[in-house]
């Protein structure tokens, strides 16, 4: 098992290197003089020259890359012009909000999408199957910002069930003490029910938006995988052995069908990381997506670069986790590698 994890880690390394190289190149592709860019509009020529030396822009490209990697290793992603803070500190402060939201959305999508896919696959051709397929097609075609706005309109403006889409907590609730950064977890740790409820309320609509976006692909893949597995020889063997329908469905069919679903989770998660930016903008969610967008407005590249890098690293880490999970489920992977 440990050896397998080691192998997976080694296999993830080229991805990490690729991410670093690409972000470096994007950084150098910035229009105009990067030094002037980073120095800000009000900088004097001398300040710009200082920044040029500080950034190592007077050196050759490979040397610059070396400096870039050195800074990364030190955890130095530059300074945000907007907040005046080191980008790393900003990201660290805002990342929990993004993660909490994305994970809640992903969990919701799995909790609804997997059963929906199973349900549709076990009753092919039934009305439930047709409804599920329509939902899947619609879900694939729905722009996330559109569904988010519809949810806000219906549940905030028309029905008044949801709170205003203005961040993680309403103006009257103080945030819980920060342990993990997740308001749900922290308020539970503090045994503060009011804050927990307030945080949960704010989370409902953005989570639903993300969940809806990820629902369609998850349900679609689950359905296809289940259909394939249910028609397999080994499920036929289980049926011919007279095993209980529950055993056949869960132990024989579902566990095999989960393999492609787990693989697909990586792609769905990447998709959610992108969607997250849009959702954070609409719900004024103070995560790293809205941080990057604020920086875009002021042409402040360092935060954007930090954001892209962070998202890519999260994705690499998640893929690693999925690979390991896959090995746990599938003995063929676990034993052969």
């Amino acid at each position: 098992m440990l050896r397998m994890i080691g192998r997976r880690l080694a296999a993830a390394l080229p991805g990490v290197i690729g991410v670093i190289v690409v972000t470096f190149l994007l950084n150098r592709a910035l229009p105009g003089d990067p030094a002037a860019y980073f120095a800000g509009p009000a900088a004097t020529p001398r300040a710009i020259e200082e920044i040029r030396v500080k950034l190592g822009l007077d050196k050759s490209l490979p040397e610059q890359f070396g400096l870039y990697v050195r800074d990364l290793v030190r955890g130095d992603l530059g300074t945000s012009l907007t907040t005046g803070q080191p980008v790393v500190a900003d990201l660290r402060a805002r990342l929990p909000a993004s993660l909490e939201l994305t994970l809640c959305g992903l969990l919701l999508a799995i909790a609804v999408g997997v059963p929906l896919g199973i349900f549709a696959a076990t009753r092919p051709g039934s009305w439930a199957d047709h409804i599920a397929r329509v939902l899947m097609t619609m879900g694939n075609s729905m722009p996330v910002f559109f569904s988010a706005l519809l949810l806000v309109y219906v549940f905030y403006y028309l029905l008044g069930w949801a709170p205003a889409p203005l961040g993680r907590l309403d103006a009257f609730t103080p945030p819980p003490g920060s342990v993990t950064g997740s308001f749900l977890v922290d308020s539970l740790l503090m045994r503060d029910g009011t804050v927990f409820l307030a945080a949960a309320k704010q989370l409902v609509l953005p989570t639903a938006t993300l969940g809806l976006a990820a629902l369609a692909p998850i349900a679609r893949i689950t359905r296809a995988a289940m259909l394939g597995v249910l028609a397999s020889d080994y499920v036929r063997t289980a049926r011919a052995g007279g095993l209980a329908p529950r055993t056949v469905l869960y132990v024989y069919a579902l566990r095999n069908a989960l393999l492609p679903v787990v693989t697909a989770l990586g792609i769905v998660f990447a998709f959610l990381l992108g969607v997250n930016v849009v959702v954070e903008k609409i719900y004024a969610w103070p995560g790293i997506g809205s941080y990057a967008l604020e920086a875009v407005m002021t042409s402040d590249y360092a935060p954007v670069q930090g954001f892209v890098l962070t998202m890519a690293m999260i994705y690499v880490a998640l893929n690693l986790l999925i690979d390991i999970l896959y090995g746990v489920i599938d003995p063929r992977v676990r034993i052969e590698t």
């Binding site: 690729g18 991410v19 996330v144 706005l149 905030y156 875009v296 998202m311």
Partner: protein, 292 residues
């Protein structure tokens, strides 16, 4: 050459027969086809049939609800939303289609060459593909656009770049399957050069699944383009574009003026739905086994 050609003719007849069967079985494909023709019609003729100038603001008619004059209402500066939605069709379709065509061409050629020749070409292609795939694609698109600037060309290229891997991978896999096929061997023995074999015998035979991929990809490309515009990294206002229009109307959703964001969003959704349904139908046509 004649063998693959007659094979293609046979496949075409089969596909037509099969297509009729599918249309009868799945009327949704017909609906999608009609919708696509309508969208193409709007894209071509839209600017001449709209009731108002999509850029003309009217300070006396700001944020008016849908009415007989303004079927879709007006936006915050009094522009007619119907006209803007219709005129935006051409831009949204054109950007997405250009991006898809570009990534299709680049991805399929790079993937096919990688699969056919192997060696360093294959290593470089797969390294590029893996690197792009290591990013959440929309996030990568954001990073690229911010770095290179939001011009129309840059948007098209960026969307093409993030879609490149799916074509390159697919083309490589398809070529790998066909590299040792009988007709390739026959062409080789007939004295054709490798480049000629790839261009005339292998590559054309790999196209059908790639075309399916392209049609399924079209909807996704439209969502990406509109998504970038929505967050301010795409087409610039006041150009009519669905993503921007939703973005501009978003603030009024909270105060109840739903139409400003609703109609452009709906248009986008229907367009994406159309291409997704067409993609499904096309896939059933090309590869019935993969039906879901």
């Amino acid at each position: 050459m004649s063998a693959p050609a007659s094979g293609a003719g046979f496949a075409l007849r089969q596909a037509l027969r099969h297509g009729r069967h599918l249309l009868a079985e799945n009327p949704l494909s017909l609906v999608a086809f009609v919708m696509m023709v309508s969208f193409l019609g709007l894209a071509l003729l839209g600017q001449w049939i709209v009731p108002f100038d999509p850029l003309a603001s009217d300070a006396t008619a700001q944020l008016q609800a849908p009415s007989r004059v303004h079927w879709f209402g007006t936006d915050q500066v009094g522009r007619d939303i119907l006209s803007r939605v219709v005129v935006a069709t051409r831009l949204d379709l054109a950007i997405s289609a250009s991006a898809v065509v570009l990534s299709f061409a680049a991805g399929s050629v790079a993937g096919a060459c990688a699969g056919f020749y192997g060696g360093w070409l294959e290593r470089i292609t797969s390294r590029v593909v893996d690197t792009i795939m290591a990013f959440p694609l929309f996030v990568l698109a954001m990073g690229i656009i911010v770095a290179v600037g939001t011009t129309l060309t840059n948007i098209i290229i960026t969307i093409a770049v993030i879609n490149f891997p799916s074509y390159a991978r697919m083309a490589r896999a398809e070529v790998n399957v066909r590299r040792e096929a009988g007709y390739v061997e026959a062409a080789r023995l007939a004295g054709n050069s490798p480049g000629r074999i790839l261009a005339l015998h292998v590559y054309p035979n790999c196209l059908p699944p790639l075309i399916v991929q392209a049609s399924m990809n079209m909807g996704w490309a439209m969502l990406s383009v509109a998504g970038l515009s929505f967050i301010g990294l795409g087409v610039r206002p006041p150009t009519p574009e669905w993503g921007i229009m939703v973005s501009e109307g978003a603030a009024f959703m909270i105060s109840g003026e739903w139409w400003a964001a609703f109609f452009p969003g709906l248009a986008l959704m229907l367009a994406v739905l159309t291409f997704n349904l067409l993609g499904d139908a096309l896939r059933d046509l090309v590869d019935p086994r993969r039906r879901t």
